[in-house]
Structure formats: structure tokens, C-alpha cells
Amino acid sequence: MTAPAAPATVSPALSAAPAPVVVGRPGSRLPRVALPAAVTIATVATVGLYLAFRGTATLPHDDEAAPFLFLNDVRDWVDDNRNESPLFLYLVNYVRLFIGGVFDLFAGALRPVDPPLLVAAATALGWFAGGWRTALVAGLGFGAFGVLGVWEASVDTLALVLTAVLLSLLVGLPLGVWAGRVPRVRRALTPALDVMQIMPTFAYLGPMVLFFQIGPASAAVATIIYAIPPSIRITALAVQQVSPAAVEASTSLGATRWQTLLTVHLPMARNTIVLAVGQTVMMALSMVVFAALIAAPGLGSAVIRGLSRADVGVMLPAGLAIVLMGIVLDRLIMAGARRTGHPGGPGARRPHRSRSRYGTAAVAGLVFAGGAVLGLTALGGFPAAFEIRIAGPVNEAVRWMQSSWYDTTEAIKNVATEGLLNPLQTVLTTAPWWLTAATVAALAWRVSGVRRALTALGCLLAIALLGLWEHSMETLTTVVVAVALTLAAGVALGVAAARSPRFAALQRPLLDAAQTLPAFIYLLPALALFGATRFTAVFASVVYAVPPVVRLVEDGIRGVPPTVVEAALAGGSTRRQLLWKVQLPMARRAVLLAANQGIVMTLAMVVVGGLVGAGGLGFDVVSGFSQSADFGLGFAAGLATVLLGIMLDRITQGVERRPSPPQQKMRIA
């Protein structure tokens, strides 16, 4: 499908046109027959070299490696100079005070509001933004915070999320617009954004505590770091995508750059920028749990407590509240965006007459009923009478599963560990480092070209220099296995969904919910079923990364033009042949993109997996955060994770960079 053949010459006049300069895969110039042979030879050579040199030139782990000690010293210096160094006195501490102040503002405004009032306010906001449906979602969502018994924590989380989102957007949107208009800015920002997105959250919690100490300010900064890349990326993309014809028309009429920005770029990029806002909110919400580790007030604590006590019942209400908050905020933003959008635009809803009448009645009723019921009850927090307790039954179910599925889960775990994880880990940790490096470089060169191969190689060598070779290889093992399983499951489910609309319809809400849940939530069932092992981390990553993969594959297969499918069916293909010979090959790019996404998500989760026995870099990062002696190790492990992520990304990127819809760089995780 994607054979890089030169475009056929259409007319004699065009034959004088410049011949396409082939930039890209060097391998594609080789004769086709030669390739498998070369690959075979290379594989045999690699295996041979491995067998010959196994166990030599390994780089075993040392807790006292120089980079770690150096980072520890840096930490000690910062700790000692926090109240002396001008950097802190005049910059860092002000940033902390400012952000803390913004949080206090939100929290101070929201906390004293009576729950019924706040529910009513949310409902009203929903109605103004998008009519009675949105009002219903907002009202029920906020009401549920109380029903779940997590009202106060929800309000705190809301304040934190609003703080982080507001500040992210204040910085992110202008930067995004700038990057969208100036390619040089975009190029300068991209690597920084890559690092921010691949850096495991845990890895910057340590430095966060060091610079901003613990508390809401520090948590907000961590959340901003995590949430800002999509706001910049998507905004830049939106601005970039604005029809050049409209921009040119504006310029040709003598508009200044500023006028063009205000009258063309911003209005036309508006819908996509709204997406950026929504995405930023989602990212901020998914940081809620991590933020609790550095004393952010709110729902995160309950999840952490649930995890440390293996108590699903404690975790679930908070987890649900986070998901609900995500849904409500998302609906409010989308509805608000639609409402203020011009009515003639594509997909815009036209006002219909009935809305105002029935809507007003419904909302009035809702608000009145809610307000009355809630208002009648005591004013101390959310009325306890409405809270439902779900902890007990949920925990019973989990306990039952644990004891009655023990043999099955043990078997699954052991097969996967002995069959996949252990052999791969043995190979990777006993292979000489130069052989691994050469293999990675060759692979990247083959798939993505020389430049990316060099980047990948550079990353690997930097990992070695950081003193984290062995742990990185352990993490690589888990990532590789998890990505393989994710792809297998994701492609199977995606294909099933693409072929059966009913299955797709059943699956979709599950995927939606799975994508909104904070990553931490996945750890608990995995832990309950498989105990503290690497396989637990693999399992959690697979569950975490499968939904987007399913989506991409499903969309890819659905995206195959119907004429092609028709042609294949007309030619007498069976459904099976249609799938294997037409749909999957044509959806190849979607599948490969899914692999790339899967890698990034898996990597993120494997680090979290350090909490449940995954070892490797993940554990280093977690332990660096919680044990001061391991600070350097943890930070270095965070860097190593980034390097590992960039390496894997570069290896698989060759596929992604081919012309294709620009959305794919958005990496909505």
C-alpha cells in the first residue's frame, strides 16, 4: 500500500518536473529480494554473537553509581539553600506562593458553598452551557460526589484541577498559538514537550518536593507540567491547520499579523482549541492521584489509601468521583463551546424551539427538587442520609475472586512469567551492552532511517552512562511483553468491533470509562489477582493501554474505503480473506500507530507498576521519591525512562512520520 514508488507521470509537461527526491527509509532502495536475506543474516549474526559473548560486558546495577551520588549532592545543596539562594528567594518561592494563592482562591470560593447550592450552581451552569441534558449531567455528577460520600475531597480536587487547568491554559494557549504560527518555535518546543510527556510522573514528584515542597502549590505545579503539553500541542496543531487560503486572504487585504491572529486564526482554530482545553482538564484529573502523594488535598488520598490497604471499597468512590468530574467538566466545556459557536458552522446545533420551554421546566424542577431535599437536611457537609456505602460488597467480591480464582491466576501468571518475561529478561540482562546497542541501532535504522537510529543509539548509551543499564533492560522486558500483549488484545477487540456493530456498541462505553479512570485504579484488581509481581504491572499496563489501541484499530479498519471492500467481496473474498488480505493490510498504519501509542502508555504504567513489584526503573523512581537516600537513583531512573521512551519512539517512528492525518501526533493518552 505504501510502496514508495515514484508518482506516475501524467503529462509530458510534467515530465520536466523535479523527480521526487527519496528521503526516508534507506532500506527501500535495496532490491526487494535482498531484504529478507539481509535480515536473516543479521539475525543469525546477532544470535551467534549473543551466544558467544553472553555474560560478558554486562553493566550490573550499582546503587552507589556516581550520577546518583551527584544528584543526591545537588538535592542536599538545594535543601540547604532554599532560604538563601536568590533563585529561590526571588523566583521559585514566588512561583510557589503565587500558585498556592490561586489554589486558595478557588478553594476558598468553593469550600464554604453548601453542597446543595453548588449542585444547583453546576446544574444551572450546565443549562446555560448546553441545555437540559448538560444540566442533568452536571447536576447528577455533582450530586454523586455527595452520594458517594466524598463531597469535601471532590471540592478540593475541583479547586486543584481548576487551578492547574487555568494556569496551564494561561501559559499553554499562547505558547501553542505561537508554536502554531512559527515553525522554529514549534521545533524548539517539541523535544521539551516529548520529555514532559514521557517522563514518568513519579520521577518529577521528587524534584517537585525539593523545589516547591509539599502541598497544593507543589501539586498544582506537577499537574501543570503534566497537563500543559496537550494544551500546547493541540493548540499549535489547531492554528497550523487553519486554512492557509483564509490566512492569505486576510493578509492580502492588508491585515496585520495581530489582526489575522484575532480574526482568522483564533476563530477558525476555536473548536480544536476547545478540544485542547478538554484534554488539559482530563490530564489534570488523571494527575489527581499522584498529586496526593505530595499532599494535594482531594480525592487522590483515598485512592492511595485504598491501594496501600488493597481496599477496593475505599478506592472506588474516589475513583468514580474522579471519572464523574471528568465527564461533567468535559460536557460543560464542549457544550459551552457549541453554544458560543456560530450557528452556521459545520456540526453546530441549531436552536430548536422546544428547548427553552421544556428545558426551563426541567431545570427549574431539578434545581428545586434537589435544592429542597438537600437544603432541608442538615447543613454540615453533604447529608449523610444520601450517602451510599459501596465498600463492603465490593470488598467481599474481591475477596471471593482472590480465593476462588487463585489457581487460575497463579497459572496465568506463571506461564507468562516463565514463558515470556524471564527468558527475555535473561537475554537482555546477560547480553553484552554493545550487542544490545548495535541491535537497537540496526533495528531503528531499518525501520526509521539513519538519523533516528543515531538518536536511539544515543539514548541507549546515555542510559548506560547514567548507571541504569540493568534496570532499564528489566523495564524494557516488561514494556516489550506488555506492548505485545496489548497489541494482541487490542487488535483482536478492534477487529471484532469493526466487524460487529453490536459488539462495538457494547464495548464503547466500557472503553470510555476505562480511559477516564486514573491509572492507579488498574493496579488494585491486578494486585488482587496476581500479587506483587512483574506480571501484575504487565497486566495493569495492558488493561490501561488496550482501549486506545482498540479504538485506533477499529477506526483504521472502518476507514478502509467501502469501494475497496466492495471490490474484494465482488471478487468472491470470504470475510476471513477480506480481513487478512484487505482490511488489516490497509489499516496497517493505524495498527502501527496503535503500537506507538501502546508503547508510550505502557511505559507510563510500567513505572507505576514499580509500586506493585515491577522492579526495574519503576521501582527506582518510586523509591527515589519516598526514600531520601535514593533521590539521585530515582531522578536518574526518571531520566532513563525518558531516554527509553524516546528510544522506543524513534524506533517505531519511521512509520508514523509518513504522510498521514496530523491528529496522530496528538498522543491523547
Binding site: Q213, I214, L293, S301, S308, A378, A532, L611, G613
Partner: protein, 328 residues
């Protein structure tokens, strides 16, 4: 014109900001909240103030925190913020005012030196009455079946028993939350044990493994501590490491001895000690036994009670104990 006025507004705000925070930059302590009432919680009965109580990730601590928090709220009218934090991070909170109280401190002489002696942001507030000791444990049935297994000298002999998919050919020593106090790696290295530390990630992982080891008769060697309710449910035998002597664990890299029995104590921020009033007095007076703690912890973990319910139950049953803690 509109832009002009906005610029002026911005300038005004900036000037104001600078004026407010003038005089040589912002120091960390500047931003700290005092323990004054922060008006949270709508309509709570005449809030006497807010106490920020760190909760470290084990259920024993949670039990103590729940009881103290119950008394602060119900008897003294305080608002209590429970902050789920790991041990070392909690100490950082003394500096910014995010944490007022650590209710159950396990040793941490280095942190005491740093935050109490050097930074002077925290002070000790006496013992909790609990005796704490960390150790390595096997299920009792293993001790019965494999004589001598509780002597560290024989551990290498039995290493094969403890092999798992995660231990890479060595025996497995299961560890808990990554943030717990730990000398495990040093002990294994210095005693030349053929074992590998595998981190379960939480107290729950330890409890679950220990329970399974009992029920399924599976070998298990793991890190655990007393006081803990688990001892009342699962029969465990402690492995005897070389006995603790004073200062044998001074250098974390050279530890080759067992953990010391600790007198668990309370640490509060300097600010709280100075201005915490009745709340501070209650916390200073708080002291109970391992049995008290275990009974509350057991209710939380095994009897389907929330921490508040378990605390209430204990408070209702033991008025004699806690009335002595109340400020006069």
C-alpha cells in the same frame, strides 16, 4: 483605551504584589498557614481550628490517627485534615505548614536531626506508648516443618524454598511499601545471604501473601512489624538476625544486624507546639498500648468498619484511657 486601562490594572497588581512581598524575597516559611481556623467545612460546630495530621501508609498508624482525629473533632471541636503521605514526605510538610503532626514515628534519627535540630521546624511530642519492632518473618508452620529456619545462619540452606518467579533464582524476601524503613538490601549483602528483595508495594501485599502462605502452605519470608493485628490471625515466627546492638545500624550501608525495638513517638511542627493549644496537649498526652492499636486496626481491616467507625467503637469502650489525654 480598554487596552490602556488593562495595562494599568496589570501594572497596579504587579506593584501591589511586589509591595506586599517586598523585603528580600520569599522564604519558605512565609507561605505557611498558621493553625488558625480556616473556615472549612460548612457549619461545623464552632471550629476551634484545623489540625493537619499526616497518615503514613500502614493500618496501625491509621488506627491511632482515627482515634486522635475522633477526639479532636468530637471533644475539642477541631477540624482535622488527614493527609495520606509517606514517612519522609510527611516530615517535609513541617516546613511548609502542610503537616502539623506525625502520630507514629519509627526512629528516623536522620530526619530528627535535620528537621528538629538543624531546621528547627519540628519538636518531639513524646511516646505513643507503642513498642515497635521490624523484623523478618516466616509462617509458623515453616518453623515447625523446617527446624532451624528461624536462624539467619540457616537461611541460605533454605533459599530454594523461597524461590519465586520474581526472585531470579535466589530466595525471595518480600518487602512492603517502598517508603518503609528498610535495611534489607544491606543486611542481605553484608550477611552474604542468597536472597533478593522483592517489593510488594504495600502493607496489603504483605498481609495477603502472609495469609496465603498460611492457607495454601506456601513458603514465604517477609518483612513485617509489630504492633500489628496480623499476629492475632496468622501464626508467624520471627527470623533471628544477628541481635541489634547500639549503633550497629548507624551506617546504612554496613548494617548487618536486626532492627532495634523502637519506642514509637510523636513529632509535631514547631508552630503547632507553640500555637496548637488544646489540640497540641491532646496529642502530647496521647499514649496507648499495642493491643489498643491492634483492636482498632483489626476493626478497620477485617470487620468492615471505616476508620471513623472503628475509632468511635474504641472510644466508646475505653473512656478511661482517653479521658486522661484531654487537656485539663
Amino acid at each position: 483605551m480598554r487596552i490602556g486601562s488593562r495595562v494599568r490594572l496589570l501594572a497596579g497588581v504587579l506593584t501591589l504584589g511586589l509591595a506586599v512581598s517586598a523585603c528580600g524575597g520569599a522564604r519558605v516559611a512565609d507561605g505557611a498557614n498558621s493553625p488558625a481556623p480556616s473556615g472549612s467545612g460548612s457549619g461545623a460546630p464552632a471550629a476551634a481550628g484545623t489540625v493537619k495530621l499526616a497518615v503514613n501508609p500502614w493500618v496501625g498508624y491509621e488506627a491511632s490517627a482515627a482515634v486522635v482525629s475522633h477526639l479532636l473533632k468530637e471533644n475539642l471541636g477541631y477540624t482535622v485534615e488527614l493527609k495520606e503521605l509517606s514517612e519522609q514526605v510527611s516530615w517535609e510538610g513541617f516546613e511548609t505548614g502542610e503537616v502539623d503532626v506525625i502520630l507514629e514515628n519509627w526512629g528516623h534519627d536522620d530526619l530528627k536531626k535535620k528537621f528538629i535540630e538543624e531546621k528547627k521546624v519540628a519538636v518531639e511530642a513524646g511516646s505513643t506508648g507503642n513498642k515497635g519492632v521490624i523484623g523478618w518473618y516466616v509462617p509458623q508452620w515453616m518453623a515447625d516443618k523446617h527446624p532451624g529456619i528461624t536462624d539467619w545462619k540457616n537461611l541460605n540452606k533454605y533459599a530454594d524454598l523461597f524461590k519465586t518467579s520474581e526472585s531470579g533464582g535466589k530466595g525471595q524476601l518480600l518487602f512492603g511499601d517502598p517508603s518503609y524503613v528498610s535495611n534489607e538490601n544491606a543486611i542481605i549483602k553484608n550477611l552474604k545471604l542468597n536472597y533478593k528483595v522483592v517489593t510488594g508495594g504495600s502493607e496489603a501485599a504483605l498481609i495477603q501473601s502472609a495469609t496465603q502462605a498460611q492457607e495454601q502452605q506456601k513458603p514465604l519470608l517477609f518483612y513485617f512489624w509489630d504492633p500489628h493485628w496480623l499476629f492475632n490471625r496468622v501464626k508467624l515466627a520471627r527470623v533471628d538476625l544477628p541481635p541489634h546492638t547500639d549503633g550497629c545500624d548507624a551506617d546504612p550501608k554496613k548494617v548487618a544486624c536486626d532492627y532495634a525495638e523502637l519506642d514509637l513517638d510523636k513529632i509535631v511542627s514547631k508552630r503547632f507546639a507553640d500555637g496548637g493549644g488544646k489540640a497540641y496537649e491532646l496529642i502530647k498526652n496521647f499514649t496507648w498500648t499495642n493491643e489498643d492499636q491492634n483492636s482498632v486496626a483489626n476493626d478497620i481491616t477485617n470487620n468492615g468498619m471505616s476508620a471513623e467507625e472503628a475509632a468511635k467503637k474504641w472510644v466508646d469502650a475505653n473512656p478511661g484511657t482517653w479521658q486522661a489525654w484531654l487537656p485539663k
